[in-house]
Every structure is written in C-alpha cells, then in structure tokens.
C-alpha cells in the first residue's frame, strides 16, 4: 500500500475511534437492545423498546414474615432443606463437587444442588468476581425467590483476595449483594464449606436469614453501587 493510502486510512480510523470513545461514555447499548420498529401483519408499524417491553421491571417488595410461630417452624424447614445454586467462577467451584462425594456428603444436611435460580434458596458464589461476572451474579440473585441467602466462598469473593488491586476484580461483595455467610480461605476445604452450611442453618433458625428483605429495603443504594462499576447495564433495574 502506498504511504499516502496508509496515512489517510489511519487518520480516518483515528477519528472513528475518538467518536466511539465519546459514544462509549454515554451508553454501551448492544444492537439487540436498541429501539427497533417492526411491521405488523396488518401493515402497521410497531415500536419495540427491548429493555422495557420484554421485562416486568417492577421494584422488589419486602416480604416481612407475618406471624412468629409459623415463621419459626418454616425457618426450621428452610434450614433443614437448603437448595443451592452454585455460581463457580475462577478457582472457587473446585471445592463444591467434593461435597457430593461419600467423604463429605452434604445431602445429610438436606442440602441439594438445583440448576435453576427459581427453585434454589442459597446462592454460593465462589471465586473472584470480575465486573462481567458480577452482572450475571446480580441477575441470577434477583431471579431467586425470597427468602434467599448468599454464601461468599473464598477470600477472592469476599474481598478480592490476591487480585485486590486488579482493574476489574470486585473487592467488597457485600457492597453489591447482601451476603449471609462468609467462608474465608484461599479456597477453603470442604469441611469449611460444611461448617459454613452449619453457620447458615444456625442463622436461618435464628430468623436472621432476612437479607432478601434488606436488599429490597435499601435497593437503591445497592443498585447505585452496582451501576457505578457495571457501565453497560442494559438490563431492567430488577430482574424478576
């Protein structure tokens, strides 16, 4: 390519990249989320706003426990049957499989792995959380039915661990999600995890498992923290 050609091409590329840069400041809207118009079978034009038409998007409500005795009994049941949704990122999820082996066998405590957030109560987040994975964690957490509990497994999850000074690792998980049980250790052994479950059972039995309502109460504060670091949010505020 002749010199003139390259330079001219380069300058044009530079302007475009600057334009992109400014544009990035404002929004990171993906193509499938932009406003679009569709022709209906009878010929009329329909305007679609993908971020609002497809999602219910209301704010979460607090489901305060009503009367004590029933709640105490239900808490006992909830503590005895904890259905877990595992979110293994980074090195964290290597510690969960041993629990289903004969040596540790979490089933004895009524703990069971469920693949879908809809049916699970405890949310084990293990491994360091980057900005990208935090976005998915928040959506999964919000889709779980209340009462729900969060177990932060491993120091990287709790306070960023050895990646504390990386440009994309979350340092304080509890600023973004209400966490019930912290299981510290740079990958704690399965026994620690079982102890964590014991701790969680105790908390539930004592009725302290109401972090879901806390999340609903100061929902705006949590959301503000989350949106500070997740710039391309393009999700409804609360994912039902």
């Amino acid at each position: 390519m002749s010199d003139l050609n390259i330079n001219q091409k380069v300058s044009e590329m530079l302007q475009r990249s600057e334009a992109n840069a400014q544009q990035d400041e404002k929004t990171f809207v993906r193509p499938e989320d932009e406003l679009r118009e569709v022709v209906a079978p009878d010929g009329s034009i329909i305007k679609i706003n993908p971020l609002y038409d497809y999602y219910s998007g209301e704010r979460p409500q607090e489901d305060k426990p009503k009367n004590a005795i029933v709640e105490k009994f239900l808490n006992w049941a909830r503590s005895e049957s904890i259905w877990v949704l595992g979110f293994g990122t980074g090195c964290g999820s290597i510690e969960i499989p041993p629990l289903v082996t004969p040596r540790y066998d979490m089933f004895r405590f009524g703990v069971q792995m469920r693949a879908t957030p809809r049916q699970s109560n405890a949310f084990i987040i293990s491994g360091y959380l980057s900005v990208k994975t935090l976005k998915r964690v928040i959506r999964s957490y919000e889709q779980m039915p209340s009462p729900k509990y969060v177990i932060a497994l491993g120091s990287c999850t709790i306070n960023g661990g050895m990646y504390y000074d990386s440009y994309s690792t979350i340092n304080r998980l509890d600023k973004y999600l209400p966490v019930d049980v912290y299981i510290a250790g740079c990958m704690p052994r399965p026994e620690a995890l079982l102890a964590g479950f014991g701790e969680l059972k105790r908390l539930i039995k004592e009725g302290k498992g109401e972090k879901a309502n806390e999340y609903a109460r100061n929902f705006d504060e949590y959301k503000a923290n989350q949106k500070k670091i997740i710039k391309d949010w393009n999700m409804p505020d609360y994912n039902w």
């Binding site: 390519m1 010199d3 390259i6 091409k9 380069v10 044009e12 590329m13 530079l14 990249s17 992109n20 990035d24 400041e25 990171f28 900005v131 990208k132 976005k135 306070n159 960023g160 504390y164 000074d165 990386s166 440009y167 994309s168 690792t169 979350i170 340092n171 304080r172 600023k175 500070k228 670091i229 997740i230 710039k231 391309d232």
Partner: protein, 211 residues
Amino acid sequence: MEHARLQLVNKLFNDRPKSYKYNLFQMKLLIDRLTQHYNLTDYKQQRHNLAFVTVDKQLSPDIITHLRDYEGFSHFVLLSCVDWIEDDKLQLTYLLNQPNHKYEIGVRVLIDRKNPEMVSLHKMWKQIWTYQRELHEAFGIIFPGSPRLEENFVLEGWTEKPHMLRDFDTKEYAERTYFPRPGRTSNDPATYMREKLYPNQPVTAKTNKND
C-alpha cells in the same frame, strides 16, 4: 506456483540432522540472505532455534510475507506487544515457526506510542485478527481493516485508557473504583525485609528509574 516453490525449499533443507550446530549454521545463512535485501537491526540469537530481529515498520509486511513464502515459515505462533514507555515506542513481535527445521524467528516492529497503528496482517493468517483485537483493547493499537476491532474483547463497558499501557496505574484505579478493604497491609518481601529484618541497614540498592 506458490506451492511448488515451498516444496522445493523444504526439499533442500529437509533431510539433514537437526543438531544444535546445524540450526545455528542455518540461522546464520538465513540472516545473511535477509540482510542482502532488508536492513535488519539488533539481531539476537536467543536459543539455537529461536532468533529475534527488528525490522523497519514500512517493510515489515514484505519481510513477513517473504519469510512465509520463501523461507518456509508457514506457521504463525503469536503476536505480542511490549510498552517501551521510556523510548516512547510500542514493540510488536510477530513470532513465526519453520515446521521443517523446527526453528522460530521473532520479527519485531517498533511503532510510535502516541498514536499507535500498524498494518493489519489478518489477510496472511486469518487468526491474527483476534490478536489484533486484544492488542487494540489492551494497548489501543489501531489495525485498520481488522474485523470486529471495536467490539468488547474481554472487558465490558471499559471507559478508561487501555489498561496494559504502563502509564495506567491499576492500583490507583482499583482503589478509586472498588471499595478497598480497610486495614489491608502488604507483606511485600522487599518492604518486610527493609522494615522488619534489617531496620537499620542504609538504603544503597540501585533505585528504580521512576521511583
């Protein structure tokens, strides 16, 4: 035509024992041939089967094409970049491998750091466009014509300057954006030794340039 020439070259170098001296000797021959046509600077024989050479930016595509077609370097290993902030240069290294003689050559190109750009070679090896996307996100290098250059490569919604550049202070950014845990003490060995083990030893070690 193209294929025939490659076969001829392979046959010439094909059936010799791949000993240490042999590689060195071959590498020398290669460099002599190259210097006849192009002015190569700071040739460095890293190992018996690996050598680095820096070439002029304008000629780099021709040299790489020459290496691929005439010298049998048919396998593209990697494209990496080093940020020489002191000389205000970014150094791109195209590592190519000669599968028959099993020796590799690293073609180094120095590009300006202020507005870094380089010709996109994705037409020579298709997979180069992924490396170029990575370098665009990490160092901000522009490869005109490279497919999907602007898309997020690893980070989503990154608004700061390219994070692998040395003048980007990750620690300061982390403390600014995320909630650093209070009371974090670093047990970095250098500071530990200086304060704990040898508190009264005068500081004489060679200081880092930008401390």
